[in-house]
Symmetry: C2
Amino acid sequence: MNIPELVQHMAREAKGAARHLGTLSREVKDRIILRVAELIKERQAQIQAANRLDVEAAQAQGHAAAFIDRLTLSDKVCDSMIKGLKEVAVLPDPVGTVTGMWVRPNGLKVGKQRIPLGVIGFIYESRPNVTVDAAALCLKSGNTVILKGGKEALNSNLALAQVMRDALAEAGVPQAAVQVIPSVAREATLELLKQDDLVDLIIPRGGEGLIRFVAEHSRIPVLKHYKGVCHIFVDEAADLDMAEEVCFNAKVQRPGVCNAMETMLVHEAAAPDFLPRMIARYQKAQVELRGCPRTREIDPLVRPAQEEDWGAEFLDLILAVKVVPDLNAALEHIARYSSNHTEAIITRDYARAQRFLQEVDSSVVLVNASTRFNDGGELGLGAEIGINTSKLHAFGPMGLEELTTTKFIVYGNGQIRT
Amino acid sequence: MNIPELVQHMAREAKGAARHLGTLSREVKDRIILRVAELIKERQAQIQAANRLDVEAAQAQGHAAAFIDRLTLSDKVCDSMIKGLKEVAVLPDPVGTVTGMWVRPNGLKVGKQRIPLGVIGFIYESRPNVTVDAAALCLKSGNTVILKGGKEALNSNLALAQVMRDALAEAGVPQAAVQVIPSVAREATLELLKQDDLVDLIIPRGGEGLIRFVAEHSRIPVLKHYKGVCHIFVDEAADLDMAEEVCFNAKVQRPGVCNAMETMLVHEAAAPDFLPRMIARYQKAQVELRGCPRTREIDPLVRPAQEEDWGAEFLDLILAVKVVPDLNAALEHIARYSSNHTEAIITRDYARAQRFLQEVDSSVVLVNASTRFNDGGELGLGAEIGINTSKLHAFGPMGLEELTTTKFIVYGNGQIRT
C-alpha cells in the first residue's frame, strides 16, 4: 500500500469503527482510558526508549532546546499523561444526554440528543504527550480519531499507539478507534485532509504555519485558532490595585501562551495614576514595553510602538501599551486588531462592564479577571482539546461536549403531514 | 470596479455592518422585517414587472415549466413572502440569550451567551422568494447577509433588494446588512467563496450540483446537505394500519422534497401481511415500486430493484422496497445507504424503538411518524434556513438559533491565574 492508499484505508476503518464507538457505555470507555494509564506506567521504560530514538535524532538535527523539551517524554511528562487520563475518566460522558425535549401541537415529542461527531483527524506537532491527551478526549466523547503527529515524534507516537491498541483490544473495542498514521510524509497529511466522505472534523494544534497549512488544504471542516492577540482595557473607573494585579498576571505568568495579554489599553483619565506604577512593576519583571505617544509622554523611556505592534502576538515578555480617550476608542481598537480570542475590561462601572461584554466579539470576554482564564479547565469544561476562534460549532475552548453534536429524536404515535 | 473587487468590497461592507447588527434590539429588527412586508405589498406591481423580465427571458431560453414556476413572483407567492416575513417577526430573538451560567471555585461566574455568527453568504437558485426569506432570517438573528441568487432571477432579486435597502435606511441601520450581488457571473460566486477573512458561513440552497460546486470551491465553512435518502423500517411489531398511513404519507404527500421516503424496509415477519395491502395502496397512487427478490416473491409484478436503486434519491413517485430478516439488517442497510438525513421505524416494540433511535446516525430519527417531519417549522424551530447533514455546528434543520453561536462571558472580581 502506498501512502494515500494507507490513509484512505485508515479513514475507512475509522468510519467503520465510529458506529460501534457511538454506542459504547461510559463504563467501557472509562475502563479503556484507565487501562491506558496503567499500561503507560507498566511500559514506561519501553516508551521512553522509543522516545529516546526521537530525541537523539532531533538533537543530531540541531533542534532548539525548547523543541527537544516538548519532544521528551520525561518521567514527569509520563506522570502528567497518566494524571490527565485519570482526569478524563472522571469527567461526565456527554453522549446520550438529551439537551431538551418539547411537544408539538400534533403530539410529536421532539428532543435533541448528544451524539459523537464521528471521525476526527487530529494534526499536531512533535509533542507525543498530546497523542494520549487527544486520544482520550476523542474516545470519551465516542469519536474515533486518526492522529498525525510531528515527524520528529514518530517512534514515540507509535509506542503510545501500541499501548492504546492493546487497551482497546482487551476491552473488545475495534482498534481502529485510535489510529496513529505510521508515516512522516506530508503526503499523508494531505491525503487525510481529502477524506471528506469519511472524516467529520479536523483539529490542528500547533503554530500558525501548521494551522494555515491545514486550513488551506482541507476539504473537511477545521476548528482552529491562528493566534491569540488578547487585550485588557483599564477603564477610568478601574480599581487600580486590581488592574495592576490582573495586567501583571495576564502578561507575565506565562507569556508564551495564546491567552496571555499582548496589548494593554488604558483610559486617559486612569493613565497618569496607573501607568507609572504598572510600568515600574513590568520593568522589575523585565517586560519590554512598546508604547503609543501618550504612553511615552508619561514615561519617555518606553520604546515607541510601531504600527505592527498593534495586533502582534509576541508570545514573549513584550507588551504594546496604548492610552485611549474612552471606551468607544478601546472597542474600536479591539474590533480592528483583536484575533477574537480573549479580551477583558477592568472597571467598577456597571454600564461600561455590560457594554464591553456585549460588544466585544471574542470567544471569551471577561470583566475584572485575567485573560489567562480562557482555558477549558479554568472555565469549567473539564479538559480541553483546543480553542476555536472561528464561530462555527463551538466558539472558544472545546471540551468533551464540544466534541459532540446533537441529532433530533422524535417519539410519535402515527403522525403524518397533511 | 471589476467583479472580484466588487465582491471584496461588499464583503468588507458586510463585515463592517456586522458589529452594528449584533447590537440591534429585537424591536428594531422586527420593525424592519415588518416594513419589508409592507413595502412588498406597496410595490408589488413594480416587483412583478421586474420579475416579468426574468420570466420572459427564461421562457425565451426554453426553461422547463417547473423552473418558470419557481422563478415567478405570482400574487400568491408575494402573499406568501409577506406571510413569511410576519412569521419571522413574531419568532423569539435568540441573540443575547444566556444558555447557562455557573460559578467556578475561585468565584468566577462563567456563562455562555448567544451571539450572531457575523456575515453569512447565501447562494441559491432562481427562486426570488428565497431572497426575502433568507434575508429576514439572517437579519432577525443579527447577521449580515450577502445573497447570490440564480442568474435568471437577477432583476427580481435586485427589485427585492431595493425594498430591503429602503426598509433598513428608514430604521437607520446600515444598508450593508442585506446585499444582493448585482452580477450573474460565476466569478462572483467564486470570489465570495474566497472571503474567509470576512465571511463566517456559507449556506448553499439548491440542487446537488450547486451544493457540490460551492463545497468544492469554498474556503469558508459550508453548511449543506447533498440529498435526502430517507428510509422507513416497518418492524415485525408494527401496527400495520399505522405503518400503511405513515409509509403512504412519507412517499406520496410531496415526493419531490428531501424528506420524502426513498426506500422502505420491511421485516420479513410483517411482509406477507403488510406488503400486499401497501403495494395496492401505492399502485392506486401510481407509485412505481422497485423491489428486492423477496418483495417480488410476494408480488411478482413489482419491478426488480437494481443495485443503484438502494441509496437513490428519486424525488418522484418511485420507491425501493426491501424485505429484511430483522432490525440488525435494517440498521446495516441504513448505515450503508442513508444520507444521514431522516429515518423512521414503525413498531410497537419498546426495545427496538429505543435501539433504532440510538443507533441510527441521521439528523432526525423518528419512531412511528413520517419522515416528512424533518422540517424546522414542523419540529418547532420556527422558520428554517436549510438542513445540514454535516455534523458540525447544527446537525439537521437550522432555524434562527442555529444562525447564532455562543461566546463565553465571565464576571470576575480580580481573579488571576496562579
